[in-house]
């Protein structure tokens, strides 16, 4: 690198020689290439393009040249500076890219540290299965009917053809509110909502009613004094058992998969006649486990069917009690236990899990079953 031209000695005007300029340019380019960071490049820029750089100093000497030589020297210096600046620009871009890449590498974290462990809310599966079932029927045009949990005995029993001395009243172990003659009970089934629907709604009636019910059973792995049912009621002209069977099959398929069917077995409920128990075809083995120890099924205990609920054609006496003409209208009703449904559908082995409110249990279900 040449020394500064302090004395403006014409002898030193050799700094404007092509050789000298070329050398300065070469030096600059080498220095630029040698800069390995933007900071180094900043120093290189200062040294080779700054006010005191050889090319700047050479430029200053142009003024001392004879006018004829000025233009050529100016052009020479200008080209040299252009070349250096272009190199600087290219290197700057290169180093910026490098800097950015290094930054990303430096900022790398262990993404596996993130885990879904922060407090996470959930709805109770009994709530969400009620909604899922309701939605099946809402899609068919049914409406969601509700009634009080503390209910008049008349709605819970009398209007459902369960007379005060009917053996069925002892079948269901009833919680009486106040005293046994108060006329108030904790509803033993969701069926009083049928009565309320028939008294309140206009015909035809298509309703689904999920809800909490009560019987005086002690809590154990399979019983609870407080449990949930869902019930459906249809009252219309020309409703038959075939409609009941078709609706049950549709319900079974909506909840358990294509092709799953139900089966009816004769039974007795005072508020329906004919009455039947509803069995659900096992949705796990679809019957393949029957008499086949090789393929035993835990869900249906290799019976191929799962007891699911009760059903029947609405007893004409019930229609009459609600002021509906049984010669003009017929209807069906069916009901299922929701705890039981959750148990076999989701493999819940202990009723208490649905009662105790342990967050570890409920969180597993999230916002829907």
């Amino acid at each position: 690198m040449s020394a500064p031209n302090k004395s403006f000695d014409p002898v030193e005007v050799s700094t404007l020689s092509q050789e000298n300029i070329d050398e300065n340019v070469a030096n600059a380019i080498a220095a630029i290439a040698g800069a390995n960071s933007l900071d180094e490049l900043k120093e290189v820029r200062l040294a080779h393009t700054g006010d005191r750089s050889p090319l700047a100093l050479a430029n200053r000497e142009i003024g001392a040249l004879p006018p004829a030589a000025k233009a050529e020297a100016g052009k020479r210096i200008g080209q040299a500076r252009g070349k250096v600046n272009q190199c600087l620009e290219v290197r700057t871009l290169e180093l910026e890219v490098l800097r950015d890449q290094l930054l990303l590498i430096e900022e790398t974290v262990d993404v596996t540290m993130a885990a879904a462990t922060v407090a996470q809310g959930a709805r109770h599966p009994l709530t969400t299965i009620q909604e899922q079932i309701s939605d099946v029927f809402l899609a068919l045009g049914y409406e969601l009917a509700e009634g009080p949990e503390i209910e008049a005995e008349w709605f819970n029993f009398d209007a459902l053809n369960i007379a005060p001395d009917h053996p069925a009243r002892t079948m269901q172990d009833t919680f009486f509110a106040g005293n046994e003659d108060s006329g108030i009970v904790l509803r033993t089934h969701t069926s009083p909502v049928q009565i309320r629907s028939m008294l309140k709604r206009e015909l035809p009636i298509y309703v689904v009613c999920p809800g909490r019910v009560f019987r005086t059973d002690e809590l154990d792995a399979t019983h609870s004094p407080v449990f949930h049912q869902v019930e459906a009621l249809v009252i219309d002209r020309g409703i038959t058992l075939a409609d009941l069977k078709g609706t049950l099959d549709h319900f079974a398929q909506s909840m358990f998969g294509e092709g799953i069917v139900t089966r009816l077995r004769p039974s007795y409920f005072p508020f329906t006649e004919p009455s039947a128990e509803v069995d659900l075809q096992c949705f796990v083995c679809r019957g393949a486990s029957i008499d086949n120890p090789e393929a035993a099924c835990r869900t249906c205990r290799s019976e191929g069917w799962i007891e699911w609920g009760g059903c029947g054609m609405v007893n004409p006496k019930v229609l009459v009690a609600c002021g509906i003409d049984p010669d003009e209208y017929t209807g069906f009703a069916f009901g299922m236990g929701l705890e039981r449904t959750l148990m076999f559908r989701h493999g819940i082995t202990d009723m208490r899990d649905m009662v105790e409110g342990d967050i570890r249990f409920t969180r597993a279900f999230g916002l829907g079953v």
């Binding site: 046994e180 108030i184 909490r212 038959t240 004919p274 342990d358």
Partner: protein
Amino acid sequence: MKAPVSWLRDFVVIPADATGRDVAELLLKVGFEVEGVDSVGDVQGPLVVGRVISIEELPDLKKPIRWCQVEVGAAHGNADTPGIRGIVCGARNFAEGDLVVVALPGTTLPGDFTIATRKTYGQISDGMICSAREIGLGDEHDGIIILPADSATPGDDAFPILGLGDQVLDIAVTPDRGYALSIRGLARELSIALGVEMTDPGQVLAELPAAAGEALACASDDTQACDLFVLQTLTGFDPKAPTPDFIKSRLAAVGVRSISLAVDVTNYVMFELGQPLHAFDADKISGTVRARRAVAGEKLETLDHVTRELVPDDLVIADDSGALSLAGTMGGLASEITDATTRIAIESAHFDPVVVARMSRRHKLSSESSRRFERGVDRMLAPIAAARVAELLISFGGAEFAGSAGVETAPAKSVIEFDPALPSRIAGHTYSQDLVKEILIAVGCTVTESAGAWAVTPPSWRPDLIVPIDLVEEIVRIDGFDNVPTRLPVAPKGRGLTQKQRLQRRAGLHLAGRGLVEVRNYPFVGVSELDALELAQDDVRRNALRLANSLSDEQPLMRTTLLPGLLTAVTRNISRGSTDVALYEIASVSLLRVGQSANGGTNPPRPEVNGRPNDSLLSELEALLPDQPLHFAAVLTGATSPAGWWGSAANYSWRDAITAVLNLGLELGVVIDVEAGVLAPWHPGRCASLSVNGVVIGHAGELSPRVLENLGLPKRAVALEIHLDVVLANAQSVASAPTVNTFPVAKEDIALIVADAVAAKDVLATIKDAAGELLEDVRLFDVYQGAQIGEGNKSLAFAMRFRASDRTLSSQEVAEAREGAIAAAQKLHGATLRG
């Protein structure tokens, strides 16, 4: 109802190779669920009939032992003594010539005990003479089984004779089918399923000898409650006569203990025919035996040694001295058959189902007899069953027939007018008239066809067949539900969920989405739980409806607040190792109406069910019930976001309880106002009273330290409870869209020093009001208390955002609005701007 297959075979021909499972399948076909099939006895191997030929008492032993030669048939003897085996036996109740049961070597008895030839008491014992208990036929071990003379031949297989290996079905009988609580009734169902005729023991009247004595007289004073009463008198009965083995083993199979011949026979006939019967010691009866209502104050000690106070609604069987038994329910102790009874009176009557059901419920007394009467007994059976009992007691108890008495009130003949097309109309499946008739006849009906409706007379054993739909059920049941096709009915257009139902779902999703976990607690609560909440004695939440028959004495009340259940669930979670617990529940509570008693009233309205009750009756029914509003409550404790490598924990605080409600309001479009409130169980300085349109809807904040200590909960746990119904009712039905303003925002922060007592909410309201419509939003973002601003003061820092809808605001406009807010705060709250 338990039914041995062998007993069913007495009345219906079941294929010889049919197993218990096969019979169960047949019954299932016609609607009877068989809950189990058991085998009688657990004996395998050569168990044969033997005849004792000779008995030799073995000398010089501590206890008497016999060495017997027993004839066991040519096929079973051993090489040395063809047809004969020597057996050592400790029992003494038999004599030479008796027929006994011999377990030959190789027989396995219950308890996996295999008989082998062995040397004992100096003799080779080549088998075992069996007692009933040894082969699993009851508890008797007093002696070995002696078969009736000439009832079998030595060498016969003893299995069928003893009923061993017989299959016993356990059948679930629904309460409408009283007739099926008998072998007779089940045999009929089986005959229908098999399509064969049955031999009906209920239509065979036993021929008794001519009456040879004095019969007790009988009467019915209440012909509605007892329309048929037969009383047989037997004399010369041998009270020591043993019960024949076939009766004993059959009773054992249906689960009844053998007591004495007289009692066993009445039970046997009841199980066979379905007619409950009662045997009295006739010598303890004076005068006419009558069915009558009890007299107030009358007492009776029943067979279970309970002295019962009778009421005039009870029906008793009585003599001149007073009540002898609770009719159709349980006998009295004083007239019980004893081991000295020689004169017997057999009661065989027909009682009203409702009368018996009431009595059974009132006295909490359910017997085999009351179960049958409640469900309906064949009215024609009484004389047949009585004669059958007499026949058995004559032949096995040496009794003589003294005579019979009876009274009867003929019932109204029940004929059902039946449209034979009705089954098809109800089922949606075509049943031919021939099939309908065939099934009706199979179940016992008499059918008179005519052009229009048929006249169908149900059989006497089917009092449950009253109206046409009852007959429809029989058609569908016997033909089978499987034959009914399937069809999906088309519902009219539905309106979907109601607004309230939709909002309730949305509330649940919102809360769970914000990290709360739903619980569904029992609605039962106890006074101690309310005490733990430090509720004042006159707190309305103590006015709870009381259960008459709660499961636990600890929790006899229906909840008026959701908090006790939530707090219990939180405690349970913590005890199981969870530390950060945020639980919520949405459920109804019950609040007594004004004037309503916790113990309920009496004489509630009971509308008739022969038509729609009128509206005033319906509202009387509604008025019985307590208010049952929907509540939302939550309890939060621990970290809302736990500490970790990402940073420190944020713990639930009083603020979270309040914002949980406010945020729910925001979600549902309901403005909820917050004010300081005081209510147990909350911390009096950290409790917000929440209201909508000036109506208090609930409270939120930190639980009081005392309550937390009572419950053993972590410090600073917070809770909230609100009337969700009110919030849902005030929710926006249709959300309205805001105008999104695109002009630039101007931000200004101000810190105002006010006295501690000034509520932040009020300062905020003032700022909002004074800053004018350019103020887009203002939020309290910092609170400072300390020496710098003087004791008793606090500094509230507010972040303000200004924006106009039509222009970019000038800095002067913003400054004016800001100054206006400060000035108003100074004026109204004595605030000073913090420098």
